[in-house]
C-alpha cells in the first residue's frame, strides 16, 4: 500500500491489518513514554485546506508519536492565500522529500491528484464530499473493540448523507466488514442512487429500533438557507437521536463536532451508550497505524532495525 486515498481501495484484510496495528499502538499509549522511534528522521507533511480539529491534531500527534519530523501547513496564512495552485504547493512541499503528505481538501479527488504529483505516500484526510478513510477506519476500530466484530451488525447512518464524506467512507467500510447498513435522512439530503453502494434507504426513523448501532451525522446550519430542510427545528423533530428514540441495547456514534440539540440530544451524547469519546481516542492510534503501514509496514524488520527499547510489540506482520 503506497497511499491511503479511499476506503474503496482497501480489502477487508487490509482494513484488518491496519486495525491490528492500531491495537499494538493502543498498548504503547498506556506506557509512560508513548513515543516510538519508527519514523525517526522521516518527514510527514500535513496540508489542511479546510478547518479541522480532530483529524489534523490526531494526525499531527500520530506523526510525533512515531518520531517523524512534522511540517503542518494550513491554507489560511500560507501561500494558498496568495493564489498558489495545489499542484505548485505540493511541488514546493515535496522539495523537503517528505515520506508522507496528509491532505484535507474541500474537493473530491484532491488526494488522488496529489498522489500523482509527489513521490511521497499520500493520506486522504478528507476530499470534498467524497471520502474520509481514516475516519471510517477509526470507527470500525471503535466498534470492533466494543463488539469484537461487525459481521451481521445492523448500522443506521442518520442525517445529511448528501454532503457527508464520512457517510460514504463509513458505509463502504461497514459493508466490507460484514455489516448491513441503512442510510436515513430527509429525501433532500440522501443522494440519488446511493443504493449503488449496497445500502438500504429510509426517509424516516421508523424501524431504527432494529439497529445495533446508530451513527448520526453533523447537520450544518447552512443547509436550511439552501432549502434542504425547512428548519433545524423540523429536522430535529424528525431525525434527532435522543434517549427516547435510542433503546438501551443500541450504541451511538458521531464523527464530531456535534450540534447539541440538533442531530443529537445532550442526554444521548452523554449517555453510556455513546461511543463518541472512544472514537476520538481511537483516532490517534488508528492514524499512527495508517502512517506506520504506509511508511514502515512493507518492511517487517523496520521497528527492530531502529534498535530502540521503546518500540511496540510487533503484532500481526502486514504484507
Amino acid at each position: 500500500m503506497n497511499h491511503l486515498l479511499s476506503i474503496e481501495q482497501l480489502s477487508r484484510e487490509e482494513i484488518e491489518a491496519i486495525l491490528d496495528r492500531a491495537e499494538s499502538f493502543a498498548e504503547v499509549g498506556r506506557r509512560d513514554i508513548k513515543k516510538v522511534p519508527t519514523l525517526r528522521g522521516r518527514t510527514v507533511v500535513s496540508l489542511f485546506y479546510e478547518s479541522s480539529t480532530r483529524t489534523s491534531s490526531s494526525f499531527d500527534l500520530a506523526a510525533k508519536r512515531l518520531s517523524a519530523d512534522l511540517v503542518s501547513v494550513k491554507a489560511a496564512g500560507s501561500s494558498v492565500e496568495k493564489g498558489e495552485s495545489l499542484k505548485d504547493t505540493v511541488a514546493t512541499l515535496s522539495a523537503y522529500d517528505p515520506a508522507a503528505i496528509v491532505i484535507r481538501h474541500p474537493y473530491a479527488g484532491a488526494a488522488l491528484m496529489v498522489a500523482g504529483w509527489t513521490a511521497a505516500s499520500v493520506v486522504n484526510a478528507g476530499d470534498g464530499k467524497h471520502e474520509h478513510p481514516s475516519q471510517a477506519l477509526l470507527d470500525v476500530y471503535t466498534l470492533r473493540r466494543r463488539l469484537g466484530s461487525l459481521e451481521g451488525l445492523r448500522i443506521w447512518i442518520v442525517g445529511d448523507v448528501l454532503h457527508s464524506r464520512v457517510a460514504r467512507s463509513n458505509l463502504i467500510a461497514f459493508a466490507k466488514m460484514g455489516a448491513k447498513v441503512t442510510v436515513c435522512g430527509p429525501p433532500t439530503l440522501i443522494p440519488r442512487g446511493i443504493e449503488a453502494l449496497g445500502c438500504e434507504v429510509s426517509y424516516t426513523l421508523d424501524g431504527v429500533e432494529e439497529a445495533d448501532v446508530v451513527y448520526a451525522l453533523r447537520m450544518q446550519k447552512e443547509r436550511m438557507s439552501e432549502s434542504f430542510v425547512p428548519s433545524l427545528r423540523e429536522y430535529a423533530s424528525s431525525f434527532q437521536i435522543d434517549t427516547r428514540r435510542l433503546n438501551p441495547r443500541q450504541l451511538l456514534m458521531h464523527p464530531g463536532p456535534v450540534n447539541r440539540g440538533v442531530e443529537l440530544s445532550g442526554e444521548a451524547i452523554d449517555s453510556p451508550q455513546s461511543l463518541i469519546a472512544e472514537q476520538v481516542a481511537a483516532g490517534l492510534v488508528v492514524r499512527m497505524a495508517i502512517l506506520y503501514e504506509l511508511l514502515a509496514g512493507g518492511d517487517a524488520s523496520s521497528p527492530s532495525a531502529e534498535g530502540e527499547s521503546s518500540r511496540p510489540t510487533p503484532i500481526g506482520t502486514s504484507a
Binding site: K87, A108, G128, H130, R192
Partner: protein, 458 residues
C-alpha cells in the same frame, strides 16, 4: 446527376470565411467513395479541378493531366465534415486556441467548415466584433469558419443584441452557448425577432437552479463520488420549454449538445409535431458514460453537459439512427493544463474533439456494428443545413469538400501532439482505428497527414 449543377445554395467559400489559397487540382485514384446523402457508394477516381468536383470517373480512368494524383486504392473518400459547434476562444483566450490553431485542428479532423461560438471575452455581441473575427479568418483560417453572435448583450440573458445589424455584418446565427437563456420572456422575444433578422438560434439547454453548481451527471456514480450532480431534468425541462416557445412563435431553434435520454425524446416528439427544431450530439456523449468519472480525471471527463448513463448514450445513438439528432458536433472546448490540473470540481468544463471525432466514432460505434459507416458520414455533415449552409457533397459540380481516410490505420491520440493549442482531448491516450489522411475544404487542400504526404512523394 447533372454536370452543370443545380447547386441551389451558395458554396461554403462564398458564405463563410477562409484564408485564400490555391484551388486544388487532384485525382483521388480508385478511392472508395461514400456519400450517402447523394446516393454515392462505389469505387471511383474523384476528379477535382479548380477546387470543384468535376467528375467521379471509373476507377483508374480519369485524365490526370495537370493534377496531383493520390493513389487512394483501399482508402475512403467522404464528403468532408461540418461542425456547427466549436470554441475558437478568440478574442480573449488565445492561450487556449485561436482561429489559426482551431481551424488547423478542424482540418486535421476532416472538417471543411465550422461554426465558432460567441462566448469569448468579450462575447461576440456587436457588428464590429463579427467583422474583426471574419477578417482574422480570411487571414488565417485553414477551413471556412462561420461566426455566431450572442443572443443577448454580453450574454447576460437580459437584452437582445442588435440582431439585424449582426446578421448584416455576417453573423451566421446566434447562441449564448456556455450559458442558458434562463428567462423565458427573453427567449420568446429572440424567437419573435428571428422573423425579422433570420438566422438560427443555437441553445445551450440547462436550468442552473437544477444544476446547482454540479460538476457531473447526477446518478449512482455522483452519489458514490460525493460530487454535486447535474440532473438530466436540468437539460430536458429547458428543451421542452424552448420547443414549446418555438412552436408558439413558428420560429426555429437548434438544440446543442444533447446529453439526456429525456431530451432526445422531447426533440423527437417536437419534430413529429412539426416544430422547426434541429439537434446535435457530441462524440463524447455518444461514446462515454459517467462511469469514466470514477477516475476523477477532469482533463478527459469533465464537460457540460456531462456524460451520462448508458441509457442516455443509447438514446442519443437511437436519435442518430432515426434522425431526431441530425448532426454530430464536437463542442470542441480547449483549456490549458492549469485549468484542468486541479481537483475535478474545480476544473474547467470542456474537452477538445475536432481532431478525433471521426476516428473515435468510427472506433466506438461503426467497428462494433452499432451504426453503419454511411450513417456516421451522413451525420458528420449534418451540421451545415440547420444554419442554411450547403451540406458538403461529392456530387459533381459541387465545391470540393473531401476527406480521405484510412479506415484501418491505428493511432494513439496525443502521441504526436495536437494541432489544437490545447491537449484536453477526451480521447487522450486512446488507440483509435481510422485516420484522416487529407482534407480538401472549400476547394483548397487544408490538411495532409505528414507521413501520408511523404508516402505520396516517395
Amino acid at each position: 446527376m447533372s454536370a452543370q449543377g443545380e447547386m441551389p445554395t451558395r458554396s461554403l467559400r462564398e458564405q463563410l470565411d477562409v484564408r485564400p489559397g490555391d484551388d486544388a487540382h487532384l485525382v483521388l485514384r480508385r478511392a472508395t467513395v461514400l456519400d450517402p446523402a447523394a446516393g454515392i457508394d462505389a469505387i471511383h477516381d474523384v476528379v477535382v479541378r479548380e477546387g470543384k468536383i468535376v467528375s467521379l470517373a471509373s476507377p483508374g480512368e480519369a485524365d490526370t493531366e495537370g493534377a496531383e494524383v493520390v493513389e487512394a486504392e483501399g482508402l475512403h473518400a467522404f464528403p468532408a465534415f461540418f461542425d456547427p459547434h466549436v470554441h475558437l476562444r478568440t478574442p480573449g483566450h488565445e492561450h487556449k486556441e485561436d482561429v489559426e490553431t482551431g481551424t488547423r485542428a478542424a482540418a486535421a479532423g476532416g472538417y471543411c467548415g465550422i461554426l465558432a461560438m460567441a462566448n469569448t471575452e468579450p462575447p461576440v455581441s456587436t457588428a464590429a466584433d463579427v467583422s474583426a473575427l471574419r477578417e482574422q479568418a480570411r487571414a488565417g483560417a485553414s477551413v471556412p469558419v462561420g461566426f455566431l453572435a450572442t443572443v443577448t448583450k454580453e450574454m447576460a440573458g437580459k437584452e437582445l443584441t442588435e440582431m439585424v445589424e449582426l446578421r448584416e455584418a455576417g453573423a451566421l446565427g446566434f447562441s449564448d452557448d456556455g450559458l442558458p437563456i434562463t428567462d423565458a420572456g427573453v427567449m420568446r422575444r429572440a424567437l419573435q425577432y428571428q422573423h425579422l433578422c433570420g438566422g438560427n438560434i443555437a441553445l445551450h439547454e440547462e436550468d442552473p437552479r437544477l444544476s446547482m453548481g454540479g460538476a457531473m451527471h447526477e446518478g449512482p456514480v455522483s452519489a458514490v463520488l460525493g460530487i454535486g450532480g447535474i440532473p438530466s431534468v436540468s437539460e430536458s425541462t429547458m428543451v421542452a420549454r424552448d420547443a414549446a416557445i418555438a412552436a408558439h412563435e413558428s420560429a426555429r431553434i437548434h438544440v446543442q449538445h444533447l446529453s439526456a435520454a429525456e431530451s432526445v425524446e422531447i426533440v423527437r416528439a417536437a419534430k413529429a409535431a412539426g416544430v422547426q427544431i434541429s439537434a446535435e450530439a457530441s462524440p463524447h456523449h455518444l461514446c462515454l458514460t459517467d462511469e469514466e468519472v470514477r477516475s476523477l480525471d477532469p482533463h478527459r471527463f469533465k464537460m457540460n453537459p456531462p456524460i451520462r448513463e448508458t441509457r442516455d448514450r443509447q438514446a442519443l445513438i437511437e436519435g442518430l439512427r432515426d434522425g431526431s439528432v441530425e448532426c454530430i458536433a464536437t463542442d470542441h472546448a480547449p483549456h490549458q493544463p492549469e485549468e484542468k490540473d486541479v481537483p475535478f470540481e474545480q476544473a474547467a468544463f470542456g474537452v477538445t474533439g475536432l481532431e478525433t471525432a471521426f476516428a473515435a466514432l468510427h472506433t466506438e460505434l461503426v467497428l462494433p456494428g452499432v451504426i453503419d459507416l454511411g450513417l456516421l458520414v451522413e451525420r458528420m455533415g449534418g451540421g451545415a443545413e440547420p444554419f442554411d449552409l450547403p451540406r458538403p457533397t461529392l456530387a459533381p459540380g459541387a465545391e470540393a469538400n473531401v476527406v480521405l481516410c484510412d479506415l484501418e490505420a491505428e493511432w494513439t491520440v496525443g502521441e504526436d501532439g495536437y494541432e489544437s493549442r490545447s491537449a484536453n482531448s477526451w480521447c487522450a491516450g486512446r488507440t483509435l482505428t481510422g485516420r484522416v489522411l487529407m482534407t480538401v475544404a472549400a476547394g483548397q487542400v487544408a490538411y495532409r497527414l505528414r507521413s501520408f504526404s511523404l508516402g505520396v512523394a516517395a
